[in-house]
């Protein structure tokens, strides 16, 4: 069978103020993607000030000094689509524009990188505080099982570890935060030396670089941001329960695991796939297909910059119990650690990894597009060409490496066990669980 070349060709330039500019040409569709990463996320926050990196992302759409009438208006008028997102490790912003509007997108991104604060008013700040509190209500408080992630992270990581809290933050912190903090935060994190700009699509690389230089080159360099470091450890088992407006109890098991790109990360990615991703997976077959104990099951290795965690989630079928689910999950993990995957499972994992990497080459912009991937590799590894090495990690996985990693992280490692149960039905939780403190 024909193998396809798997990479994203690019050129990298670093401007005098420290801004990395990555350029990738793809003329198959007359669109251009602009993508900016700031290497700041909720792990740069402190206890008592959580949720701020994300709230700040909202402020970036409220106008800047030289265009203070909303960020969306001129871009949507030019036919753009645009968005941004914040997670624990980074904040990204992107526009996909018709290729004739590339300069507009670069102008807008550079104006908010260089000149946000003169346009940032108390009124905008108050409004976005309310929008974010509503985002929290919609996606966490009023969503079934929506507070589970908060309980799990808080139990996996100690209170002073920067992964202890979720990116959306605590209500009390969001209500207490003041506009002045935005100024300090912007000066510390939002500057060229802490950012990476990718431009991809129907562009002329030299022309795009000149535009980027003209738009961003004059922005003052900032102080480099030292990396965040924190150790995590978890011994034994922590059993928690959470009450929610739900009908079917759900079980979450979580373990600390290797960081993104660290040894064992790809192994756990494939191991969680073969455990619980899709109808061929071992836990689906047992819990849902054969024994019919669960309504659904899933698992993932959550790779993050300074540490990962694996999570297995299963919802009990009516009349079935969480201890029944737990027993099967633990058995299957132990079996994988002892016997390893079959050759067929390894081969399937490799084919799926290769296909996923090919599918990732289909879009230039937006979340997960080629521009976003170039920035991810540049920010997290310093090497935008990491794409093929990333794939090679998956191709190097063996039965022995999966056995070793599963055994280390999921069998011998400490574990958080969270039961989410209907109100007044604490009896449905795993025995010995104590209420989790989240709201």
């Amino acid at each position: 069978m024909r193998r396809v070349p798997l990479n994203i060709s690019f050129a990298k330039h670093t401007l005098a103020n420290g801004l990395d500019v990555l350029l990738h040409e793809d003329h198959s569709c007359p669109i251009a993607a602009v993508n900016v990463w700031y290497h700041v996320g909720s792990k740069n926050e402190r206890p008592g000030h959580t949720g701020f990196a994300h709230l700040f992302e909202h402020l970036m759409f409220e106008g800047s000094q030289h265009h203070d009438r909303g960020y969306f208006h001129p871009l949507q008028g030019a036919g753009a689509t645009l968005n941004g997102s914040t997670n624990a490790d980074r904040t990204n912003y992107w526009e996909v524009v018709p290729s004739n509007a590339l300069e507009l997108a670069l102008w807008m991104e550079s104006d908010r990188m260089g000149f946000l604060l003169p346009a940032l008013t108390e009124a905008k700040f108050e409004n976005q505080r309310h929008v974010v509190l509503n985002e929290r209500r919609q996606n966490y408080e009023n969503r079934p099982y929506g507070l589970a992630a908060m309980a799990i992270l808080a139990a996996l990581y100690r209170p002073d570890h920067p992964y202890h809290w979720t990116t959306i933050g605590e209500i009390a912190d969001l209500e207490a935060v003041r506009l002045e903090e935005a100024h300090a935060f912007f000066r510390r994190f939002y500057h060229p030396a802490n950012a990476s700009l990718a431009i991809a699509g129907d562009i002329d690389a030299a022309g795009a670089l000149a535009m980027a230089e003209a738009c961003f080159g004059g922005i003052e360099a900032g102080e480099p941001v030292p990396p965040v470091r924190a150790e995590a450890s978890l011994e034994g088992e922590v059993r928690l329960l959470l009450f929610d407006r739900i009908e079917l109890p759900r079980l979450y098991l979580a373990w600390l695991s290797p960081a993104m790109f660290a040894e064992g990360d790809a192994d756990l990615d494939l191991a969680t796939d073969l455990l619980a991703n899709g109808k061929t997976s071992r836990l689906y077959r047992r819990l849902v297909f054969d024994e019919r104990l669960a309504a659904d099951v899933s698992a993932a290795q959550n790779s993050r910059e300074i540490g990962g965690f694996v999570q297995v989630t299963a919802t009990a079928a009516p009349g079935r119990t969480l201890p029944e689910l737990e027993r099967v999950i633990v058995e299957e993990i132990a079996r994988l650690a002892a016997d390893g995957p079959t050759d067929a499972e390894i081969e399937r994992g490799r084919v799926q990894a290769e296909s996923q990497f090919v599918y990732r080459l289909q879009t230039v912009g937006g979340f997960g597009g080629k521009s976003d991937q170039l920035n991810a590799y540049n920010v997290f590894t310093g090497d935008p060409s990491y794409f093929d090495r990333d794939l090679a990690r998956y191709q190097a996985v063996t039965a022995a490496s999966i056995r070793r990693t599963v055994s280390r992280s999921l069998v011998r490692g400490g574990r958080v066990t969270l039961s989410v149960v209907p109100r007044d039905r604490g009896d449905l939780a795993m025995p010995g669980s104590s209420p989790a403190d989240v709201s």
Partner: protein, 454 residues
């Protein structure tokens, strides 16, 4: 050289974009095979469209079309569901079934080197599913679990309740998921009968977009779908069944909810309405993008919500027009009042301005090319042609057609297809907390409904 910050850069001349040529054939069994070569990445997107969906669910069997779609990948011939999914995994396929009121869509994306296996697997699932009794029992149980979980999700409760309020016993009066009562009384024989009568080649189109050749796709499909025959299925309902007159104000209580999930709307327009293009622009201005009137009002001015939107759900028969928004509980009545006001304003009192018209048109037309970047996006576009009987030059004509829309056309179209006096309001939220504020809306006494009433 430093950029001039005294004004925004003007976009240069647009680079041309042309929708790629579509090739069509029809197999002897009536299956249409439509393809587009799109060789950017060695990927092929396959979609099998069957023009029958939940609107043809028999009365008392609401959810049958979706149940049947869900059973397609549960085995074929002697092979089990696990065997089928092993085969999909071996070609790295992404597989999905999607069921709507008007159609069932089975999609499979794979590397182009595996296009033959992809088409064969699609044919195994769609034309020759096993539909065995024990698989049926298991899948029905899983669908019942999913219905139980949907009762806990405010947006899902709102969707299900709202279409029932708007449409009652009309074919659009239930979501594809159906209801517990109908699922419980369903039997495997119902699924087999539905597959035999509705999932037929004469109402189906195989769409292939990607690094593939039309004649090769046609040849593979002719072999793979050989033996799939049958009479023309009964026609879907083509005229509107009687519609109910729902109460203006309805609430599904969710004690202690921090937000109210709102739906505000009425039956709207069909896909073939001559007002389609004017309504697309009107909706963009009303609630179809970030800078729409409704979102700027409820989110950016008042801070009531994370986001508000409106939509016309264009279907073969008139689909719902609605506002969809989740608002902070204490803002419930105010958000309803503002939403109704925005709908009323656009159809006359505060008609679309020339700036809004220009922005709305630009937002739809200038970004047009990005809707056709990937094989899957193009395949979805071709599916629209097949589902709604649109002409081959539809995408070529779309931009010039939208550019000719005038402000008057938008106002008149919105006046024809929205009506503040007919709006039905549904609140999924904390009745105790919002009840006292609702009478001021003058929409009558709220009708209290249960999350599993339908």
């Amino acid at each position: 050289m430093t950029v001039d910050r005294s004004r925004l850069p003007e976009p240069g001349p647009a680079r041309p974009f042309a929708f790629p040529p579509l090739r069509k054939s029809t197999l002897p069994n009536g299956l249409r095979v439509w393809s587009i070569r799109h060789g950017v990445v060695p990927v092929v997107s396959l979609m099998l469209l069957v023009r029958r969906g939940s609107a043809v669910d028999p009365a008392g069997r609401e959810g049958l079309a979706a149940m049947t779609a869900d059973m397609l990948d549960e085995g074929s011939g002697a092979r089990s569901a696990i065997d089928i999914h092993e085969a999909l995994a071996r070609i790295g396929a992404q597989f999905d079934t999607d069921i709507g009121a008007d159609a069932t869509l089975v999609s499979l994306t794979t590397l182009s080197r595996a296009v033959d296996r992809g088409i064969e697997l699609l044919a195994d699932m769609v034309a020759r599913p096993a539909l065995r009794d024990d698989d049926f029992a298991r899948v029905r149980q899983l669908r019942l679990h999913r219905l139980a979980q949907m009762r806990d999700s405010p947006p899902a409760v709102a969707e299900r309740t709202f279409v029932r309020l708007l449409y009652g016993a009309h074919p659009y009066g239930h979501t594809p998921a159906g209801c517990e009562r109908a699922l419980t009384s369903m039997e495997a024989g119902d699924v087999r009968a539905f597959h035999t009568s509705a999932i037929r080649p004469s109402v189906s189109t195989l769409v292939a977009v990607g690094d593939c050749d039309h004649l090769e796709v046609e040849r593979i499909a002719a072999t793979a779908f050989d033996g799939w025959t049958g009479d023309d299925p009964p026609a879907p309902p083509d005229r509107a069944a009687p519609l109910p007159s729902p109460a203006r104000l309805n609430i599904v209580p969710r004690p202690g909810a921090p937000q109210s999930e709102l739906r505000i709307g009425h039956v709207g327009a069909a896909r073939h309405t001559p007002d389609y293009h004017a309504l697309v622009v009107g909706n963009i201005v009303l609630g179809g993008q970030f800078v729409s009137r409704l979102n700027l009002n409820l989110r950016e001015r008042r801070g009531f919500t994370y986001g508000a939107r409106t939509s016309f759900d264009f279907r073969r028969m008139p689909g719902p027009f609605s506002v969809q928004v989740g608002v902070q509980t204490k803002a419930t009545a105010a958000a309803i009042e503002e939403s109704i006001r925005e709908i009323a304003d656009l159809r006359g009192p505060r008609p679309i301005t020339s700036d809004e018209l220009a922005l709305g048109i630009a937002a739809v037309t200038r970004g047009y090319a990005r809707s056709f970047e990937t094989a899957e996006q193009i395949a979805r576009a071709v599916v629209q042609l097949a589902l709604y009987d649109l002409p081959d030059d539809y995408f070529a004509e779309f931009v010039p057609r939208i550019e000719r829309i005038t402000a008057d056309e938008v106002t008149q179209a919105m006046a024809r297809h929205t009506d503040p006096a007919r709006l039905t309001v549904l609140v999924v939220g904390d009745l105790d907390a919002v009840g006292d504020d609702l009478p001021a809306l003058e929409l009558g006494d709220p009708v209290v409904l249960s999350a599993d009433a339908f």
